[in-house]
Symmetry: C2
Subunit: 140 residues, 2 copies
């Protein structure tokens, strides 16, 4: 029986290598996390922002589905495992300093957000010109 | 002489209020930061991901331009102040639990990224099916 060898990431060498070369060397913060924004692969619509640790990023690559690290539950979170609302990975991009990810996904099931909406960003900030209490409004 | 009163944010009360009501009650992490993804207001193209503290979020609302908190330099970062590559705010959205922001912006100057590219997400992850070293490729 053979097992798939785990995915390995590169070392974070010089700024030039990190920014311009083709070595994947993600930077995890002091909690071992990296921010990951999921967007619709076809429309670029932003769906949700969550975090991954090294293990969940490896699992995401292995499964081809988004696996996050839940900061509130402090555990791995294979999105959709119970709800069916999983995210099929089309492409993962990283940024110049490799401390953020974009997951370009196909969202399966009823929608991305646990509130049953298509995405989590369903409200916009309304700041009165004269200052004071900032409110929200629903995005139409 | 009159001064603009500062912007105030709401209290984080129940989960229901945070998720469904129209009170803007952003959640800053233990370092006082909230993640903010800047996207092109017209095309939804993801430009960059950075962080804001409470002061920089207030300044963003006041100026109508993105002001971040630089985690590497540990200081306020009014993007474009020296380079001219500032980000004019069209709309700010927040997510269900209000611990992330999307800035829908008009990017001025030569481009968003300090590498002189339009956006920071110019490379995609290439993971070999059989496991092993994960690489990057340029997004065409």
């Amino acid at each position: 029986m053979t097992t798939t060898p785990p995915y390995q990431f590169g070392p974070r060498e010089s700024k030039k290598v990190i920014e311009e070369d083709l070595v994947f060397a993600p930077k995890f913060d002091e909690h071992g996390l990296i921010a990951a924004m999921a967007v619709d692969a076809h429309t670029d619509e932003a769906l949700m922002l969550a975090y991954m640790n090294e293990e969940s990023l490896r699992m995401t690559l292995e499964k081809g589905q988004a696996v996050y690290w839940s900061r509130s539950r402090n555990q791995l979170w294979h999105k959709g495992e119970t709800s069916g609302e999983f995210q099929e990975i089309v492409e993962i991009r990283t940024d110049c300093d490799q401390d953020a990810l974009i997951l370009r996904v196909i969202q399966h099931g009823g929608g991305c957000c646990h509130t049953k909406r298509n995405n989590c960003f369903y409200r916009k900030v309304v700041a009165p010109k004269q200052g004071g209490l900032v409110k929200l409004a629903m995005v139409e």
